[in-house]
Amino acid sequence: MEILSLLLNGFAIAFEPLNLTLIVVGCTVGLFIGAMPGLGSVNGVAILLPMTFLVPPTGAIIFLGAIYYGAMYGGAISSIMLGIPGASTAVATTFDGRPMALKGEADKALVAAATASFVGGSVGVVLFTLFAPPLAEIALTFGAPEIFALMLMAFATFIGLGGDDIPKTLFSIFIGLVFGAVGLDIVSGEPRLIFFDIPGFFHGINFLVLAIGIYGIAEMLWTIEISQGEVMISQATITVRRILRNLAELARTWKTMLMGSFLGYFVGILPAAGATPGSLMAYGFAKTTSREPETYGKGNVHGVVAPESANNAASTGAMLPMLTLGIPGSPTTAILLGGMVIWGLEPGPLVFTDHPDFVWGFIASLYVANLFALLINVGFIPAFIWVLRLPFSILAPIIFILCIVGGFVPTLDMHDVWLMLIFGVVGYLMRKLDYPMAPAVLAIVLGPLAEPALRQSLLISGGSFSIFFNRPFAGVIMVLALALLFMPLYPMIKNRLFKKSSENPD
């Protein structure tokens, strides 16, 4: 009951006129920043941080929290409408969101994403309210071996994502992992894979550079080739009746939403993991457990719902170690953490007892922000649909410009823009030859998390792999991951042996 009264007090704070205004403004701003390819919640929060000293700390964190939420909602918009993930957290949303938009179901996909985000955010914030301190303790004990096991599990859920051509799928995974290794080797402290000694490679190959190159430039070139530059992206319409019908259909995805929410939340609270692996794993699990996995990637609404509920739940989850341990679970929470320091608050285990108004006002504002983000998002859907109905020969150059500016902005380095163009052109040629591209994008996100964790674990154990099995959490996750990894491989191998003679000759 103590929690309830604290929470009610928090709501009183969140509903103060200033804070409520900040929530609405934050959600709207966040939505648009998140919808831009190249700009995600990290950029939104970092950029608006200096503005927050104008208001008291509680208002400031409420504002940034609202931006964070809005941006998480907005990330789905560019994934669905343009097929370009605005941030790594929205990669999995493109897999089915984009095909839905191409089928003329953009409105359904957008509503599904918004609703799933709402459910994910709500589940996340409820779990946050109830179990913050004990979960923080568990998250604290997660070290390098557990993180590596978790990354392996994320990969395992994705083994079936590629096409039927196994060598090409593996090639795509490997090249993504190698590109992810560019930059600095943390363990030996040496620069690595600095091609032709170009200094731009020191910061590694940013995930966005590859993602925008492949999903933006290459995909656009492909669409233009198919349509010869004359067709619209989609013929979506939007009416109240359609929205209601979509909502009714969405109700049937509640299991996927809840699965995504819980999975996302628990992955999100782990330091260094964050929302991206959470959303990928939710998609993978939804597909593996589905009765019709073959419809995934072709516009199955479950494929939008799972990652979207997970990434919002995870972004709430990531706030937990930030507030209670002072450890950011994602780059965005790292900035929020910096913000708290600026406002004169020391995040950490004592923040709940020392600044209850701040913490509970913030938590309550997350409930409110979640609701407003949903309403604002749904309200803007007709506008987004309208944009999609512009002739493609107008939309295409605008998207190209967004891609180029979006590739430049995160690092403010033209090097990345050139690299993105190269990825786009080569990616287009490879795509024509049926090389699957999604595995490469996933690999470049997960690789830089997995490799240091593997090497740190082996350093700790003195080179012995037993470290992954003789720790309780790592052991359980590892066994699950290995089971998932080899389960789909077995029928694949079996199929190959028998399938060869009967393969379709077209």
Partner: protein, 165 residues
């Protein structure tokens, strides 16, 4: 298509070799008591890429994949023309970023694309060419404080900054 499949396999195979060679700048073996060396991860993954390329070429020779049997041309003349035009325009735009800056390159690209490739009216073309850079400036430079490259047009922006800040 058949030819393209082989060429891509070989090019990527050569690229894998380059990556392996580049990775070998750091130790690629197992360091006792420490685990793999700094280059091992990328070296062995690049070796995996090479193995995949070999498999792709073998499958090409055995005509297993659809692409290796396809007699279709990889790119028709028309496709090639569109591809070269757009890719060329993009490269030119990014190149112009260095010289005339974002706010010079964006209108030039839009005018080229809308008017000469899209065949839209001058009115629509002009409208977009005028509004897009302004919207870009207001959103990125003023609202988000992210400076885009300006090339030699830089001095023109100083009074604009004075006005906004």
């Amino acid at each position: 298509m058949r030819m393209a499949e082989l060429v891509m396999g070989i090019v990527m195979g050569v690229f894998s070799l380059y990556l392996m060679w580049k990775s070998a700048e750091l130790p690629i073996g197992w360091i006792a008591g420490e685990g793999p060396g700094g280059g091992a991860w990328s070296f062995w993954l690049a070796a995996g890429m090479l193995a995949c390329c070999v498999a792709i070429i073998v499958r090409w020779a055995m005509r297993i994949t659809p692409e290796s049997r396809s007699e279709e041309v990889f790119m028709t003349r028309r496709t090639l023309k569109v591809f070269l035009l757009i890719a060329g325009a993009l490269i030119a735009m990014v190149g112009l970023f260095h010289i005339v800056g974002a706010y010079g390159a964006i209108p030039i690209f839009l005018i080229f694309y809308l008017r000469f490739m899209g065949g839209h009216s001058w009115r629509l073309t002009g409208g977009f060419a005028f509004v897009t850079p302004i919207a870009t400036f207001l959103f990125f430079e003023i609202a988000l404080q992210k400076t885009l490259p300006k090339g030699f047009t830089e001095p023109l922006f100083l009074p604009i900054f004075d006005f906004f800040y």
